[in-house]
Symmetry: C2
Subunit: 596 residues, 2 copies
């Protein structure tokens, strides 16, 4: 029976009364606390209508609020009915402001401990304590009780991620992680992030549309053994055999026994737990058994971030395939746009269609951003049937898309001229291009942190009086997450940039109400042998031309032109031979503009 929104909210309030709480939290996150959730866990959307990737709703007796961050300000106002929920994009203090506004004090607010992280609850308690508000864990999610037509949980089959692509066997990976655990003096690490497990065990699945993993959990011990908590029926015999005896499989319903075993093996030695990815419920289960928790980053993050040679090769291959799709799309677009029949959704669909032509394509790595005109200035804009704008007249179309391929994950952003771009658009596009090139050409010694690359990207923009309000980029997985924890590429970034990291180089400029520009390629951190033994540089793996109509050659220095020439020569050399004739001719014409 499909409930209307007001019925859903009334039912939820009714459950709140039954368990004796004055309010209830509905976060965007699910049990796995990741960026994406499967349809069965889209509880926040089901209750409030909001689909952004970060947010939490608070429902009280007669009011409610949806709190998100600045990326989704416009979206949350568009999607949430003010009759039921107020909205705010001030993530840091939005909840407190709501509580202050309505003088919500000395009450009890319930939460499902399985869907909030340890750190999140700690921060919430710190915010709400001063108001005499008690945050009370309620086992079992109240939304699930009333969501009668809730979709089933995903349980796609697990497949092996071949060592040909991974470059390291699962057994070697377990040894590497076990050594780290010994160095850290911990008995084991609880792996709450399904992408950690996928990397460690060299397995993939399809539980999430954009991330090829099985939603599962695991424990890795300092002796290298692993207990993997997943429905055994999902793991083919062959995969189980390859994993060997060191990896045991436990059904999810036996998870309490996993915790018991963890206690009996760890004893008084600490267990490493990531406080952002591990749920309050699981931490509570561990503490109930007197397991000593050591809060820290998963031991998988850095080893995974440093891609092996085999991974780097398959990443390059995935990017060549992706380049074919993108170049065919750009060629098609140039011929098609003049007819005035396109809109943002059609463009996003067409990019997907071109990617689908490749048999190695496994689906998008994230929802395509196609923003024409002022929509391009909304950094996290996603077109839908209501908002999809027609692409006509004069303006800029910003296109950010990516794919999952059998051996790699892609993410690329280009800006396309529609009609006659103004000189100002060209000046700004070229300035952002200069920023992109400054990063692409960077050389730096071992030990350098992300702040150096961020500074290089800002210098040409600031000289032009423009700037962008997001990070320079992010880590990317190898047929895993398109947003993979790796190195902090921001002005405050202190993490070291390591050899083998795959990161995005995506500066931009967003002119509110007019247009957005972002120029993104993925780059691998490689040795800069010609410079010296301790030096590194960035090797660009995305091989798609920039837009001649938007690039003012007169604004470029000799070194910038040199870089562009070499880059576009590579495109013709590596991708040219794989393109259909007409598209190859288009590529040659386009690239020659940059080849001086």
């Amino acid at each position: 029976m499909m409930l209307s929104q007001s019925e859903r909210i009334a039912a939820l309030r009714s459950e709140m009364v039954k368990v004796g709480v004055d309010g209830y939290l509905i976060p965007r996150g699910d049990e796995y606390l990741g960026e994406y959730v499967p349809p069965c866990n889209e509880r926040l959307e089901w209750v409030t209508g909001f689909t952004g990737s970060n947010g939490v709703a608070l429902l009280v007796a007669t009011k409610g609020v949806v709190v998100t961050d600045a990326r989704y300000g416009i979206q949350v106002r568009a999607q949430v009915d003010r009759k039921f929920f107020e909205t705010t994009d001030q993530f840091n203090d939005g909840l407190v402001k709501f509580i202050q506004k309505y003088k919500i004090q000395n009450v009890t607010i319930g939460f499902d401990p399985a869907v909030h992280g340890i750190a999140a609850i700690r921060n919430l308690r710190a915010q709400l304590d001063p108001f005499g508000i008690v945050l009370k864990p309620i086992d079992g999610n109240l939304v699930d009780l009333i969501w009668h037509d809730r979709p089933g949980a995903p349980h796609t089959g697990v497949e092996a991620f071949l060592e040909t692509y991974a470059g390291l066997s699962a057994s070697d990976k377990r040894t590497i992680i076990a050594e780290k655990l010994k160095d850290m003096g911990v008995a084991a690490a609880f792996l709450a992030d399904p992408t950690d497990i996928a990397w460690l065990l060299n397995v993939r699945a399809r539980d999430l549309a954009m991330v090829p993993v099985a939603l599962s959990r695991a424990v890795i011990y300092a002796d290298g053994t692993v207990e993997w908590v997943i429905d055994p029926l999902r793991v083919p015999l062959e995969v189980k055999r390859n994993l060997g005896n060191a990896v045991s499989i436990t059904p999810p319903e036996s998870f309490p026994e996993t915790i018991m075993r963890l206690k009996s093996r760890a004893l008084r030695d600490p267990v490493l737990v990531d406080e952002r990815m591990t749920s309050y419920a699981i931490a509570q289960m561990m503490e109930d058994r007197n397991i000593i928790l050591k809060l820290g980053t998963s031991p998988v993050v850095i080893p995974r971030a440093c891609k092996t040679s085999a991974e780097q090769q398959s990443i390059r291959d995935a990017h060549r395939r992706d380049a074919v799709a993108l170049i065919r799309f750009l060629s098609w677009f140039e011929g098609e746009v003049g007819r005035g029949q396109l809109d943002e959704l059609a463009v996003a669909d067409k990019i997907l269609w071109f990617r689908k032509q490749d048999p190695a394509f496994r689906g998008p790595s994230f929802e395509t951003i196609a923003g024409y005109g002022s929509n391009g200035a909304i950094v996290h804009y996603r077109a839908d049937e209501n908002t999809s704008r027609k692409i006509m007249g004069n303006g800029l179309l910003l296109l950010d898309s990516g794919g999952q391929y059998v051996g790699g994950t892609t993410d690329i952003t280009r800006v396309l001229a529609v009609g006659d771009p103004t000189d100002e658009m060209r000046v700004h596009y070229t300035t952002v291009l200069k920023s992109h090139i400054a990063v692409a050409r960077a050389v730096f010694p071992r030990g350098t942190s992300g702040a150096f690359l961020d500074a290089l990207s800002r210098a040409p923009l600031w000289v032009g009086g423009i700037d962008y309000g997001h990070r320079l980029g992010h880590g990317v997985g190898c047929f895993l997450s398109v947003h993979e924890p790796s190195v902090d590429l921001s002005a405050k970034g202190r993490d070291e940039i390591f050899l083998g990291m795959l990161i995005s180089n995506e500066p931009g400029y967003y002119r509110e109400g007019e247009y957005g520009i972002r120029l993104e390629n993925l780059v691998l951190v490689v040795p800069a042998d010609m410079v010296g033994p301790e030096y590194r540089t960035l090797d660009t793996v995305s091989l798609v031309p920039f837009d001649p109509a938007l690039t003012k050659l007169s604004m470029l220095s000799a070194e910038e032109k040199e870089w562009l020439s070499a880059y576009h020569t590579r495109i013709l050399d590596e991708i040219g031979p794989m393109l259909p004739q007409a598209d190859r001719m288009w590529a040659e014409m386009t690239c020659r503009y940059f080849m001086g």
Copy 2:
């Protein structure tokens, strides 16, 4: 009676026995914990022979060690007789290694609490505790007891620093600092740094050869009143009158009463104390009276760092005067060097001579660094009679010098070609010049921190596979310290760069055993109106040409050549008219090389 070094050490050991300690610390610092000490406080030199600006000696019954930092590795080995003291330039753990080596355990080491800072003693205790070593304060310095021909303490007359130069009256400055104290919730701040007092009260003196201040102390209260601890005979009636009733003067011998008054006025409110600049003894006096200490940076640092318009004008004027001296020197050097009669000391003397020709010159701001050939690669090299190298053959001469002028402090570094420089020297000089220009041209928005400028300086060097191992630069005072706390210009620098800051831009490259290159100008942080209201840029105030013989124009981009052209045009316009005819002709010939 002049004691030999072995007699000095024996006498010191004898005093150690008398007070019952097994060891004694002799730091470089004096009661004022500054970078420079007056001759009467050069205790470390008197005991060990070492003259570097940072170090501490430990003397025990039969051994001793002098610990300094990496800047002075060569110097400490040259100056200290190994018969009496071992040496190390590993400042962080040098003392601990010495203690481990000789198994010095469970002993008492004495120290004079008046000449060590709070933080320094805390760090020492942390290092020495594990060895069962007790650090015991001994009032009265043991070196003073045996240094019978010790020079007298300086007591030069105080003079006013005119408001014409300062731009703010002492009264207004007291109001500004008092507001900060109120915001911080402290009753008062103890000003341990004599340069803080000089800025606050708009006074100068000559107690230190290189820093025009009176060695004194003060307390400023949250109501803006100040108690200045200085011999009243040093303060002329006129200066006292201008300071007014809000500033009271207390003789140093009555300092204990200053502390009593501090307690009676502060009561239970905290007093702000800088833990690096305030001695252990003074902190102890405060704690004995139950004054609550709040450890933090002096409230003067940031206001002083942001120069007023008047200060900026007088800084520019001081730099024009300095440029005249430098350009005359360079012109003289070019004609003289070929005779092969010069050595490093003669060159340092000649620069000083040229500066002295200006009536506004008040002495050097630091000891000149004149390093020829491989001496230039020793970053803190100072020539003396033993080491002064003859300047002949082919090579590079690095010259870092500066002056105190009535309205400003200068600091500038140039590299001069001697004979025929190799192509490699020219490539490296030009690369460092590119690094310097990248910083000089920088544009950045409000809120940017020092790490951004450091990154800009590294990028061109790293592309060329070279680097420098010091910070990009430092803050500079206005007729005060040449090294003034201001903004951290290093890769980790998180302090904000504020309008009005005067900082040095001094990247370099040091090729051990061959040559050193450093190209330094001082720059003011000014609004970049042409770019936008929130943007800043750097205005170079040092106006001295670079070396045509060392600059490869073919390595420079169009923007770099443009910057050099505009810079050298300014030199001719602003300094040209002030030069004697021959030197003016030399300047024109030299500058034209850069003016395309």
